[in-house]
């Protein structure tokens, strides 16, 4: 069938990298068609930077940031951003934290000043601190009421042991109850340093004007003093293979959960290979695991395999939802599918299907200023300066033999931690 005439594929926009005098990174990328500008502030201050006593403080701090700065009253930031038609949010991960604002282009300059002020000069008022602690404890309780989340937390705890990836980002309840504003201020001073921060801007950047660099030098970010102590590298992860079984109240269907370790995010070529492999295995009805376990044998309601891109080592997490009595069969078939892949490399057609799914998923995500800002911001934060085209090129470089040689062995059944969660 002849293809319809289509317009030539435009080149992907190029991220522009800059470094302020104090070492802070800035990356901006012009998306002239986008209806909003996304400002995304990143800092290498995720839960992996916490000491044991600081459990949950990185995430708690993210909440407290929105309680105002020296110049902004509690709630004032939200009010001003939203009154201009924008919105904001934040997320704390194991490795990093980011705060993002989506704004109509004409209001993006105002938001830039406000965001930097908010994040870099948090007030950490004692009364607000106690109130917000309640909110964080409610967030924890809400997640504890989802038995699936409890099961995943247990999987990570047993698989990653004392590594930060085995600890809850929300923190331990007892530690949360003991936190004090002074300790949080100290955590902020220690980690929110220019050389550990990156500001990403994506959208119609013309609205920001030509003197952006100059203004940023004079902003809160440009005026931030570098840290005195050297930043330790991400602590190495050594996932522990094993098996466990867990009975959970309120669980309605059993879960088979498995975790494997792949190379860390610094190895972006491997990350793309991991995307390709998990897609080949579990994305779509014709993927190997879905086809075998759900479509043909009908052992599961669903089976998913997610690649979590992390600095100390990526985690591949499998979740199969099934009846309790099917668990042994499910585990056996997952194992069989993985062993088959070890024995024979994937066929080219199968690989091409996965390449197109990953490639299109990536291209679709570039439609949204927020996800572009997050991608280039996270990359720049960790000193990866590839452009938006690079992942698509890496994707093409992987072939069946390379996947089988380099990545498939890492997903061997015996390298996984495997948790069976069953209704109590």
């Amino acid at each position: 069938m002849p293809p319809l005439p289509a317009a030539a594929v435009p080149a992907l926009p190029e991220p522009q990298h800059e470094q302020l005098s104090n070492g802070a990174s800035v990356v901006h990328i012009d998306l002239p068609q986008a209806p909003v500008v996304c400002l995304d502030f990143w800092c290498r201050a995720g839960s992996a930077r916490e000491t044991a006593a600081e459990s949950g403080i990185a995430h708690f701090l993210e909440h407290m940031v929105f309680k105002g700065s020296e110049r902004l009253a509690a709630g004032e930031f939200d009010y001003r951003v939203e009154a201009l038609g924008g919105n904001s949010n934040a997320a704390t991960g194991f490795d990093d934290v980011h705060y993002h604002v989506l704004m109509p282009p004409e209001a993006s300059n105002d938001a830039l000043e406000l965001l930097l002020d908010l994040v870099l000069q948090p007030r950490l008022d004692a009364e607000d601190f106690d109130l917000e602690r309640q909110v964080v404890l409610e967030e924890l309780a809400q997640s504890e009421d989802q038995p699936e989340e409890v099961a995943f937390q247990e999987l990570l705890r047993q698989a990653c042991g004392s590594h930060a990836y085995g600890q809850p980002i929300l923190g331990q309840r007892s530690a949360l109850e003991a936190h004090r504003p002074e300790a949080m201020a100290q955590f902020h001073r220690r980690h929110y340093r220019p050389e550990r921060c990156c500001l990403a801007i994506a959208g119609p950047t013309a609205a920001l004007g030509g003197d952006l660099r100059q203004r940023l030098e004079h902003s809160r970010l440009g005026q931030l003093s570098p840290g005195a102590e050297a930043e330790p590298p991400p602590p190495p992860l050594a996932l522990r293979p094993g098996e466990a079984r867990l009975e959970l109240p309120r669980l309605e269907a059993a879960r088979l959960l498995m975790a494997w370790q792949l190379p860390g995010a610094a190895d972006q070529r491997s990350v793309l290979g991991g995307d390709l492999l998990t897609t080949l295995l579990a994305e779509g009805r014709r993927s190997r695991l879905v086809e075998r376990l759900r479509e043909n044998l009908r052992l599961v309601e669903s089976i998913d395999l997610d690649l979590n891109v992390l600095e100390s080592g990526c985690l591949v997490l499998l979740e199969a939802v099934c009846e309790t009595e099917q668990l042994p069969a499910v585990q056996r078939e997952v194992r069989r599918v993985l062993l088959e892949l070890q024995e024979q490399p994937p066929a080219e057609a199968e690989l091409e299907r996965a390449r197109r799914l990953v490639g299109n998923g990536y291209r679709f995500s570039l439609e949204v200023a927020g996800s572009v800002a997050a991608m280039v911001g996270n990359s720049a934060l960790w000193q990866r300066r590839h452009n938006l085209q690079a992942p698509l090129d890496w994707l093409q470089q992987w072939d069946g033999a390379a996947l089988q040689r380099e990545l498939v062995p890492l997903l061997a059944p015996e390298r996984a931690f495997c948790l069976q969660a069953v209704p109590a």
Binding site: M1, P3, L4, P5, A6, P10, Q33, A34, P35, V36, F66, A74, G75, D78, Y79, E82, A83, L84, G85, G86, N87, S88, L102, P104, L131, R133, Q134, V135, L137, E138, E139, A141, Q142, D145, Q146, P147, R250, L251, E252, A253, E283, G284, R285, R286, S287, E295, R298, E301, A349, E352, R353, R355, R356, V358, N360, G361, R363, F364, E367, V368
Partner: protein, 434 residues
């Protein structure tokens, strides 16, 4: 504030011989195409005794159609790295395609093949039915889902909006090929619209029509027609569960998208539940630290849409959480919001509209919904203009007309339920239900 937002670089109506309006929203840039075929008659049209049929059919449509078996269809779609989904919501069955524009010629015929020549293979129906039954069961793990299910029953009884689109277990179990075949005949007969957005190649009409393959399809254009009604019963529902938190949902049934006071109610929704400066977020979370998640659920519907305030709070704070939530509702009935609050709500309404147009899919989705409701293409922009004219008194009038006799649905441990119930019984909102 009322300058129109850009919809697309060029909007045109496609030319084809079907009574299903075809709209092309051309957007330059990424070579991506999104298509949404909206057909009136979702789970709200499930026949008595066949609740779950619309969703079951939706799932089965992509399990074989035209020349393609289930496997061949999955090979084709996944081989292009595309997404093809069909889902039934309360008001409509929606087929969504998202693909690279280069693959449009190959994939566009599938839309009408799914509608006109689905295979409805017994074995694939059995699989889809089993998956839906399992999902229904697993949803009970979520206390929000439990509270929501109970609230839905309070608000709509056994009416068309009274069940989860996935269905009712005992009825879903009985559904077979005959029920689905009857449904297929009806697809589009109550109104249908197709919206394409993104980088749209020339000649898409012919590619779409290629999917008919000698069959005919006689859809009708969408019309303005009243959708399912809600009850105004008031009352309390409690679902005991051994959770840490108490989930609270307070809601009532209101009015369809595009109806007289719907816009005023939408602004109240923005005021109460959109963003961190919203009334519920500030009052319940920032001032009382009662909850992490608070918000308003008010989807666009053809019939009497639900309007629900919700939060979840530690079981031991049940009394305070219940009182504060009920007071927030009562406040809407007793006093108008301030002009400043209305201004903020308008900014959010406009902001939401702009943010909802970022991707081709979002754009196609929103326009298909609006057109499917029998509303004009410019409805969103007209609503932005009309919002500028509304006053705090207009919103107050809408609240007093539409937000009467709310129902409270709770899920949580028995002690928390008892404590919350006491608060409810003391409150004027429950007395008005008597």
């Amino acid at each position: 504030m009322s300058a129109p937002l850009a919809l697309a670089a060029r909007v045109e109506q496609g030319h084809w011989p079907l009574d299903c309006p075809l709209w092309l929203l051309h957007r330059p840039g990424a070579p991506i195409l999104s298509a949404k075929l909206w057909m009136r008659g979702g789970s709200g049209s499930d026949a008595p005794g066949e609740r779950g049929a619309a969703q079951l059919l939706a799932g089965v449509l992509s399990r074989g159609c035209g020349p393609y078996s289930a496997d061949a269809l999955a090979d084709l779609v996944e081989g292009c790295g595309a997404g093809l989904r069909c889902e039934a919501a309360e008001d409509a069955t929606l087929i969504s395609l998202k693909c690279a524009s280069d693959d449009a010629a190959t994939l566009l015929p599938l839309l009408l093949q799914m509608v006109r020549s689905p295979w409805l293979v017994e074995d694939q129906i059995a699989l889809e039915r089993q998956l839906n039954l399992q999902t229904l069961q697993r949803q009970r793990e979520d206390p929000f889902q439990v509270a929501h299910d109970a609230l839905r029953e309070q608000l709509y009884g056994s009416g068309p909006y009274g069940h989860d689109p996935l269905g009712v277990e005992s009825e879903l179990r009985q559904l077979g090929r005959d029920a689905l075949q009857r449904q297929v005949e009806q697809l589009g007969a109550q109104g249908a619209v197709l919206v394409l957005a993104g980088a749209i190649p020339d000649g898409v009409e012919q590619r779409l029509l290629a999917g008919l393959e000698g069959t005919t399809w006689a859809p009708r254009p969408p019309e303005r027609r009243a959708g399912p009604p809600g009850l105004k019963a008031g009352g309390l529902a409690t679902s005991p569960d051994e959770t840490e938190q108490l989930v609270l949902m307070l809601g009532t049934t209101t009015t369809p998208l595009g109806a007289e006071q719907a816009l005023a109610l939408r602004l109240l929704h923005c005021h109460l539940g959109i963003g961190m400066s919203s009334r519920l977020f500030v009052a319940l979370r920032e001032e009382h630290g009662l909850a992490y998640d608070v918000g308003v659920h008010h989807p666009a519907r053809l019939g009497d849409a639900p309007f629900v305030m919700h939060l979840s709070s530690s079981a031991e704070r049940a009394v305070e959480a219940t009182r504060e939530l009920l007071n927030e509702w009562q406040r809407l009935l007793e006093q108008p919001i301030s002009p400043e609050e209305l201004e903020l709500a308008r900014a959010k309404f406009r902001g939401q509209e702009a943010l909802g147009r970022q991707t081709s899919s979002q754009l196609a989705d929103r326009q298909a919904l609006v057109l499917g409701h029998g509303l004009p293409m410019a409805f969103a922009d007209r609503s932005l203009e009309a919002a500028a004219q509304l006053t705090p008194e207009d919103l107050h009038r809408a609240a007093r007309t539409l937000l009467t006799q709310p129902c409270l649905s709770l899920c949580g441990p028995a002690t928390a339920l008892r404590a919350a119930e006491t608060q409810w019984q003391r409150h004027p909102l429950s007395a008005s239900a008597a």
